[in-house]
C-alpha cells in the first residue's frame, strides 16, 4: 500500500474539504447557544398535546417575538424555548401566561446566562483551545527531540488537528444552517476532546516513524513513513472503531442533551483516521524532502563555488 505516493492527492482532497468548511463558516457561521450569546432556555413538557403554532402565538403575545421554539422528544408536548435572559419576575409571568392559555406543563429545565458570563465563557474557551494546541506542539517537539527537525513533527501533528477541528466546525455550521443546531459548552468540550484524540492518533504514527527511522529501514524518508503508516493502520482503525461503538451507544441512548458533544467526537474520530494517516505524515514527508533538497542544492552550490 503506497499511501505516501499519493500524498499530493490527499493534500488536494483535504484542501478542498477545508476550503468548503471555511466557506460554510464564513457564510453561514456558527449558531451560538446561550452559553456564548446569553439568554434563557426553558424546557417544558405539556400535560396535553399543544400545537407549536399556538405556543408561538402565545410567545408573540407575551412580547417574545424572536423566541426560538424547538420540539424535542414527543413532538406535540416537549418544547425547548430559547428566550432573552429573563429575570425572575419575567420568567414567572411568562410561565403563568403560558399555563393559563395552553394548559399545565412541567418545567424540566430552565437555564439563564447573562451577557457577562457569556462573553467570559467565549473568551476562556478560545484561550483554552490556544493553550491546549501550544502545549501539545511543545510536547511533541520534545517527545521527538531525537529526530532531525522535531519541530516539524509538532507542526505537522497540529496541522492534522486543525483539519479535524475545522471539519467539525464546518459540519456544525451546516447543521446549524439546516437543523438549527447551536454550539454550546458541550460542543467546546467535544472540540477539546477531539484535539486530544486527534493528536493521540498522530503521535502513534509518528512514534512508529521514530522507531523505524532509528532502525534504518530505508534511506528514503517517504518509504519509512509509508511503512510506519501501514504498520499502525490496524491499530488506528480498531481503536477508532471501539471509540465509535461507545459514542454511538451514547448518541442512541442519551441523545439530545449530549448530542453536540457526541457528534463533534464522531466527526473528530472519523476525520482523525484520515488526518493521522494521510495529512500529518504526508506534510512531514513533503517538508523533510524540501529541506533535504534545499540542503542538497546548497551542497551542490557550495561544490560549484569551490570548483
Amino acid at each position: 500500500m503506497n499511501i505516501m505516493g499519493k500524498r499530493n492527492w490527499f493534500f488536494i482532497i483535504s484542501g478542498i474539504i477545508a476550503l468548503a468548511c471555511i466557506i460554510s463558516l464564513a457564510t453561514t457561521g456558527l449558531k451560538t447557544g446561550i452559553e456564548f450569546s446569553s439568554g434563557s432556555i426553558l424546557n417544558i413538557t405539556f400535560n396535553n398535546p399543544v400545537d407549536k403554532s399556538a405556543l408561538r402565538q402565545e410567545l408573540d403575545k407575551a412580547g417574545y417575538k424572536g423566541a426560538l421554539i424547538q420540539t424535542a422528544g414527543n413532538e406535540s408536548r416537549d418544547f425547548i424555548i430559547r428566550l432573552p435572559a429573563l429575570d425572575d419576575a419575567a420568567k414567572i409571568a411568562l410561565v403563568n401566561d403560558l399555563q393559563a392559555s395552553l394548559g399545565d406543563f412541567k418545567e424540566n429545565e430552565f437555564d439563564k446566562i447573562s451577557a457577562m458570563i457569556a462573553s467570559e465563557t467565549s473568551r476562556n474557551a478560545a484561550i483554552a483551545v490556544v493553550i491546549a494546541v501550544v502545549a501539545m506542539l511543545l510536547y511533541i517537539a520534545w517527545a521527538f527531540r531525537r529526530m532531525p527537525s522535531p519541530f516539524h513533527f509538532g507542526v505537522c501533528a497540529i496541522a492534522g488537528l486543525v483539519f479535524d477541528t475545522l471539519l467539525a466546525l464546518g459540519i456544525f455550521s451546516i447543521l446549524g444552517g439546516i437543523l438549527g443546531w447551536e454550539i454550546n459548552l458541550m460542543f467546546i468540550t467535544g472540540v477539546l476532546a477531539v484535539i486530544g484524540y486527534s493528536i493521540n492518533n498522530t503521535v502513534i504514527v509518528f512514534d512508529r516513524i521514530r522507531e523505524n527511522v532509528s532502525r534504518g529501514i530505508s534511506a528514503d524518508f517517504a518509504v519509512v513513513v509509508n511503512r510506519s503508516i501501514v504498520e499502525t493502520l490496524g491499530r488506528s482503525f480498531n481503536t477508532s472503531l471501539t471509540t465509535l461503538f461507545t459514542l454511538f451507544a451514547l448518541l442512541l441512548f442519551v441523545g439530545a442533551s449530549i448530542q453536540n458533544f457526541v457528534v463533534v467526537l464522531i466527526i473528530g474520530v472519523l476525520a482523525g483516521i484520515f488526518s493521522s494517516t494521510c495529512i500529518s505524515p504526508g506534510l512531514l514527508v513533503t517538508w523533510q524532502k524540501r529541506e533535504l533538497s534545499k540542503k542538497v542544492r546548497a551542497g551542490a552550490e557550495a561544490a560549484r563555488v569551490r570548483s
Binding site: 452559553e35 424546557n43 447573562s114 486530544g196 502513534i204 471501539t242 471509540t243 461503538f245 458533544f261
Partner: protein, 448 residues
C-alpha cells in the same frame, strides 16, 4: 514468573476492594456512600450571583460578601434543603447550589432579596412612575421617609433580627417585629402620614398574602415608632417568614447572572439512559475485542471490566461529582481504554509473525508499544488539564469540568488496566498448552 503470580493476586485484591467500594452503586459496602451525582442528574438549582461592590470602598471589599453568604445560608436553611452549597467565587461572586428542591422560583425569590418585606402606600395617580405593585386594592408605591436628608424606602431591612410568632387573645397568629433606630425614624414619619390609610406589605413582586388568600394591608391606627405586628398569616407562613427575617440582610446587592435549574425527574431519566448506554457500549467493545483478538481480546475485556470498576471506585473515593458530561466522558473512555491493548496486541501479532514464541512476542509487544502508549496518553492528559484549568475559570463550566476530570482519571487508570492487568493475565498462559494454539491469539494464523 513467581512475581507474576504475586501481581495477579495484587490485581485480584485491588478488584475486590474496588468492587466493595462500588457495589451496590447507591450505597457501597465499604464506604456506605453513593456515587455523587451533579445537579443536572439529581435535579436542583445552580445559581451564580454577581455582587455589586461599587458602593463599598476598595479596602473593605475583602470580607464584604461574608454577611451576604451567612444570610443566604440561613435563608436556605429555612427551606430544609439537604447538602446546599453556598460559597464565594472569585472576588465578587456567590455560588448557590440547591440539590433536589422543587419550588425553585420561591427559593430564588428569597435568596437574593435585599429585604424580605417592603412596605407600600397607595398612589393616587395611576400613572405615578413610582408605582411598583398593582393588585385588587389599587396601585402601590414604596412608602418612603427621610433619614439624614436622604429619602429611603421602608423595608424589613430595618427589622431587628428578633422577630417572633405569637397569638393574640383570639388565637390569631401574629408576627412581632422591632424597628432598628433608622427604621423607627422612617416608620414614625410614614405611619403618621398614613393614619387611617392602608399600609401594604409586599414580598418581592407580590403582596404578602394572608391565610385567606387576600393581600395583607392593615389600616394604620396610630403612629408606630419602635415595634409592630403583622396579622393574618397562617402559622407555617408566619414561622417561615420570621426565620427568614431573622436570617439577616443582604447588605451587598446581588444580581443573578447564571442559573441552571433541572427537574429531579428529568435528572433520574438521564441516569437510566446513561447506564444503558454504558452497558451497551462496553458490550460492543468487548465483543469486538474478543472476535478480533481472540484470547488476548478476552483478557483485555476482563481488564476493561476491572478498569470500569476501579474508575467508579475512584469516583466514589475522591469523590468526583458526576454530571451528564462526566458520565459521557466515562462511557467514551471505555472505548478509548482498550487503545493501549490494541496497540500491544497489534505489536504482538507482528512479533508472532516474525516467528517469535508467545512469551517473547508478549514481552516484545508490551515493550515496543510502551513509547507510543505513553506519548499518546500524555497528549490526552494535557488536553484534560487545560480543560480543568478552563473550567475553573468559567461559571457555567459544569459539563467541561466533569468531562475533563473523568477522562483524566480514565486515562491514568487505563494505563494500569491495559498494561499491568493484561500483561499479568497473558503471562499466566506462557508455557502452558494453550500458548501453542496460535489460532487463539490471532485471526490470521498464516497457515500455522
Amino acid at each position: 514468573m513467581r512475581s507474576n503470580y504475586i501481581m495477579f493476586i495484587i490485581i485480584l485484591v485491588i478488584l475486590a476492594i474496588a468492587a466493595t467500594v462500588v457495589l451496590p452503586v447507591d450505597k457501597g459496602l465499604l464506604l456506605g456512600r453513593p456515587i455523587k451525582l451533579g445537579l443536572d442528574l439529581k435535579g436542583g438549582v445552580h445559581l451564580v450571583y454577581q455582587a455589586d461592590l461599587s458602593g463599598i470602598p476598595e479596602a473593605d471589599r475583602a470580607g464584604a460578601l461574608d454577611a451576604d453568604i451567612a444570610a443566604i445560608r440561613s435563608r436556605v436553611d429555612v427551606f430544609g434543603v439537604t447538602e446546599p452549597l453556598i460559597q464565594q467565587q472569585g472576588e465578587d461572586r456567590v455560588l448557590v447550589e440547591l440539590p433536589g428542591i422543587s419550588d425553585v422560583d420561591k427559593a430564588k425569590a428569597v435568596i437574593g432579596q435585599t429585604a424580605i418585606l417592603e412596605f407600600g402606600e397607595l398612589a393616587t395617580d395611576p400613572n405615578d412612575p413610582a408605582i411598583k405593585w398593582r393588585n385588587e386594592l389599587g396601585n402601590w408605591k414604596p412608602a418612603t421617609g427621610t433619614v439624614n436628608g436622604q429619602e429611603k424606602a421602608l423595608t424589613s431591612a430595618y427589622f431587628k433580627q428578633n422577630t417572633y410568632v405569637g397569638a393574640d387573645n383570639l388565637g390569631r397568629i401574629i408576627l412581632h417585629f422591632e424597628w432598628d433606630s433608622e427604621g423607627a425614624q422612617l416608620s414614625s414619619q410614614i405611619t403618621q402620614r398614613l393614619i387611617g390609610k392602608p399600609l401594604g406589605i409586599f414580598s418581592g413582586d407580590h403582596a404578602l398574602l394572608g391565610d385567606d388568600g387576600k393581600p395583607i394591608a392593615p389600616t394604620v391606627q396610630a403612629q408606630i415608632t419602635d415595634q409592630g405586628i403583622i396579622e393574618g398569616l397562617s402559622q407555617t407562613e408566619a414561622t417561615q417568614l420570621s426565620k427568614l427575617l431573622n436570617a439577616g440582610r443582604i447588605s451587598v446587592p446581588l444580581n443573578l447572572i447564571y442559573e441552571q435549574t433541572v427537574s429531579p425527574v428529568v435528572g433520574a431519566d438521564f441516569v437510566g439512559m446513561a447506564v444503558k448506554a454504558g452497558i451497551i457500549g462496553i458490550i460492543l467493545v468487548m465483543l469486538f475485542m474478543i472476535i478480533y483478538y481472540r484470547l488476548p481480546g478476552l483478557l483485555a475485556s476482563i481488564a476493561l471490566v476491572i478498569y470500569a470498576v476501579v474508575v467508579l471506585a475512584i469516583f466514589k473515593l475522591i469523590p468526583v461529582t458526576l454530571s451528564l458530561a462526566g458520565i459521557g466522558g466515562f462511557i467514551l473512555s471505555l472505548g478509548m481504554a482498550v487503545d493501549a491493548n490494541v496497540l500491544i496486541f497489534e505489536r504482538m501479532k507482528e512479533e508472532l509473525f516474525m516467528g517469535r514464541t508467545l512469551g517473547a512476542a508478549i514481552e516484545a509487544g508490551f515493550k515496543r508499544a510502551w513509547s507510543a502508549i505513553f506519548d499518546s496518553n500524555v497528549t490526552t492528559v494535557i488536553a484534560c488539564i487545560v480543560l480543568i484549568l478552563l473550567a475553573s475559570n468559567i461559571v457555567a463550566s459544569g459539563p467541561v469540568m466533569g468531562f475533563a476530570v473523568t477522562l483524566l482519571i480514565g486515562v491514568l487508570v487505563s494505563m494500569f488496566s491495559a498494561i499491568v492487568v493484561t500483561r499479568t493475565f497473558l503471562r499466566l498462559f506462557i508455557g502452558s498448552r494453550i500458548s501453542r494454539q496460535v489460532a487463539l491469539f490471532t485471526m490470521y494464523t498464516g497457515g500455522k
